[in-house]
């Protein structure tokens, strides 16, 4: 890849925070670092990956509003976790986490467990009990 071919396809993925480094050939045929704001295929792939995350979060939110899932399920998806990963972060068993994604089991949780989930999911206990309308 030549220096002038280093793509500059800005899809605001980097939020203007910085540009990334690519290695490319300069006019003398020597490699050097060249900065790039992004490349279309990479932007496409990232967007696609986020679409999947957003779909899962939205499905969980709908599930909570319909009374099929507890708000824990929503916050778990929002943190891109599955029950196994959340269990590790909260110091509980995977099976327990799975059970707590059910509204009935979630409703009777003690404050200690709620606090563990809240800390692991970066929200307050109050936020943990709700989902955005």
């Amino acid at each position: 890849m030549k220096k002038e071919d280093v793509p500059q396809d800005d899809a605001n993925m980097l939020e203007g925070k910085f540009r990334v480094v690519k290695y490319a050939l300069n006019e003398n045929g020597e490699y050097e670092k060249v900065r790039s704001v992004g490349w279309e295929p990479e932007n496409t792939a990232l967007e696609q990956a986020w679409d999947v995350v957003h779909e899962r979060v939205e499905a969980a939110r709908q599930g909570v509003l319909a009374g099929r899932l507890s708000p824990l399920a929503y916050h778990m998806e929002k943190n891109m976790m599955d029950a196994g990963l959340l269990a590790k972060h909260a110091g509980l068993s995977t099976r327990k986490v799975e059970r707590h994604t059910q509204p009935a089991a979630f409703a009777v949780l003690d404050t200690d467990t709620l606090q563990r989930y809240a800390t692991a999911l970066l929200v307050s206990v109050d936020e943990l009990k709700t989902v955005p309308r």
Partner: protein, 349 residues
Amino acid sequence: MNKAAVTIPFEHQQSAHCETGVISNLMRFHGLRVSEPMAFGIGSGLFYSHMPFVKLNGIPVTSYRILPGHIFKRFSRNTGVEMRRMKFRDPLKAMDELDRALDQGLPVGMLTSVFYLPYLPKAFRFHFNAHNIVVFGREGDEYLVSDPVMEAPTRIHRTALMRARFAKGMPNTNGRMYYPVRVPTDADLRRAAANGLRRTARDMVNTPLPMFGAKGIPYLAGKLRKYEQRLGERDARLALGNLIRMQEEIGTGGAGFRFMFAAFLQEAATVLERPELRQHAITMTRIGDQWREFAFEAGRLCKGRAEEGINYGSLADKLIAIGRQETELFRELARKPAKGSTVQGIRTA
């Protein structure tokens, strides 16, 4: 308790990849000058593997490099650098140890999870637990951070850093931190580069099992050909998008490290006085360009905007061609170099 402010005069240089960037920056601080491509080459960082049975965030892992942490290990072994490495159970102890090193004037490298680094752009914050950064100071509740993929140093709050150092998953970061305790500033970079190069070449051509090394590329091609039948249109596109990310996302320097390796070959040609390596750098660049074409066409296919004739089969063909060229190149590089001048010297003596 508020600790005294510390700022270590650490020179931050932006890099393409976190691990090699940290090596290059830490070594410069300790008086050993190695560029990022050189660190990559000496640490034998380049590799290829496609492991359908190992999943990260539910997606099969395709990797263009050796395992995280190993570039540093091989680099240290090849140059005689001694590192102190630590991991912790208790986050507070991990922070105390960090503070202690900073108080001694030592910049500290550490393992973090990208998901918990608030200064990074949102779009890149997935659960990736093998991101290396250097902490080089402290001011109030904040730490000064040299994140190699960023243009400039940044800051992070103590609580956030603690979280990033203790992420769970694959792997648990366990507060891992490291710093050099002995850096031979007169290290024999010639020998180190020659060793690194030979190791990479051998890894690429000799690693057994079909999914590793250059032959892993046609192995993926075989799977890719059947993606649409096996996974359905939607999941096939997701899998393809994931391949692009593994190859091109922050940290590879483009084309899955192939350009960075070509840059190493150029430098090695000078250091080792082996001009033929410049020729190999050109070959590697051509291969890198084909990886980029692959990503470009794959991206069109993901978006459903592919031109006539671009499909999973044609992409697989591209990979087969790339695999063939990589096999050839690394076979060549795995051979013992002809030592023209020395051999002649002996002959005439």
